[in-house]
């Protein structure tokens, strides 16, 4: 194992530990959120994003890290996003959390894991077709929301914090 592998394993182990402590790995929590009955995973994700965006943009401003946007490919995001959403609701796990769920003994997540491996192999076969159709439709490139809006990233971060805090306060008030 080289540095790359040790670093990945260490980071992943802490990530898995925190996901398990937050109790967000479970089928019941994931589907509970999609049924809008238990907002634990929203609270967890939003908190991670709110903290993360401040650090990421601060470090980027200091030149310590670089951003790595994914391409805003409209066809891929709309169709792929829809397929992911539908599959997620039925499977009850995301790719990363399925491994964590198996770790905490929920071994039925193995079936989800196998399905995802087969899905990945199917996609590899479909890729040439997708590239010339869905993915060829409209690509806005590797851009950020502040780039598109022409404003400072810190304005977007401030707005994100305000909206998120409002939403989280509402969840708490409703006891979700």
């Amino acid at each position: 194992m080289g540095t790359e592998h040790i670093l990945g394993l260490a980071t992943g182990t802490i990530f898995g530990f925190l996901l398990q402590k937050g109790r967000v790995l479970r089928f019941d929590k994931q589907v509970g959120a999609l049924l809008l009955k238990d907002m634990t995973i929203f609270k967890f994700m939003l908190s991670a994003i709110m903290v993360g965006m401040v650090g990421v943009y601060a470090l980027q401003a200091m030149g310590a890290i670089s951003l790595s946007h994914k391409a805003a490919n409209l066809g891929g995001l709309l169709l792929g996003g829809a397929l992911f959403g539908a599959g997620w609701a039925i499977m009850g796990f995301c790719p990363g959390t399925s491994l964590g769920a198996i770790g905490e003994g929920r071994w039925h997540a193995v079936f989800a894991l196998l399905g995802m491996l087969v899905g990945a192999a199917i996609f590899a076969e479909l890729f040439p077709l997708m590239k010339s159709t869905v993915l060829a439709w409209k690509d806005f490139g590797k851009v950020s929301l502040p780039d598109v809006l022409g404003i400072s990233p810190w304005a977007v971060i401030a707005a994100f914090w305000i909206v998120s805090i409002g939403m989280l306060a509402w969840f708490e008030k409703k006891g979700l």
Binding site: G8, F15, G16, V51, F84, I90, L99, M116, F140
Partner: protein, 179 residues
Amino acid sequence: MRLVTSDGGWNPYLGGALVGLLAIASAYATTKWLGKTAYLGASTTFVRAAGLAEKTIAAERVSANEYFTKEKVRVDWQFMLVIGIFLGALASSLLDRSFKLEAVPPLWEQYFGPSIAKRAVAAFLGGAVAMIGARLADGCTSGNGLSGLMQLSLSGFVALAMFFGVGVATAKLVYRRAE
């Protein structure tokens, strides 16, 4: 607000904030030691794992495949990260005794009964569809959701809106209580 939830877990705001700090530290560490900033993600690893598995039965098919070639079938930083998620969850659940062997999720059982076969088929098909979607969107809830939004990527906002929008609609259709 309580620091420990009724099921013995940590407050989700605390756990989430710590994941945010981990993502920042990880971006810094990968830049410093690997020379390239890496963000948390998971779904590309499934392509690499599928490629590694397929290689054992049809090596030529894998090496001739454009997508496997593009994503490079190898055990990389993210591959180890995904293995780490398993180990971290195992350690955490053993330490606080929340580890539990479970054949069918309790919520699933409420709607569809205790059949393992039924759950297995649904999870397998749902998993296949979700992964095809994640690869089309170039990322899952981690890569597009967490990491994309942290970087304020346009793709992250669109992807997460689709994930949750369609996820909520599908859940509403699928999980109906038997009359």
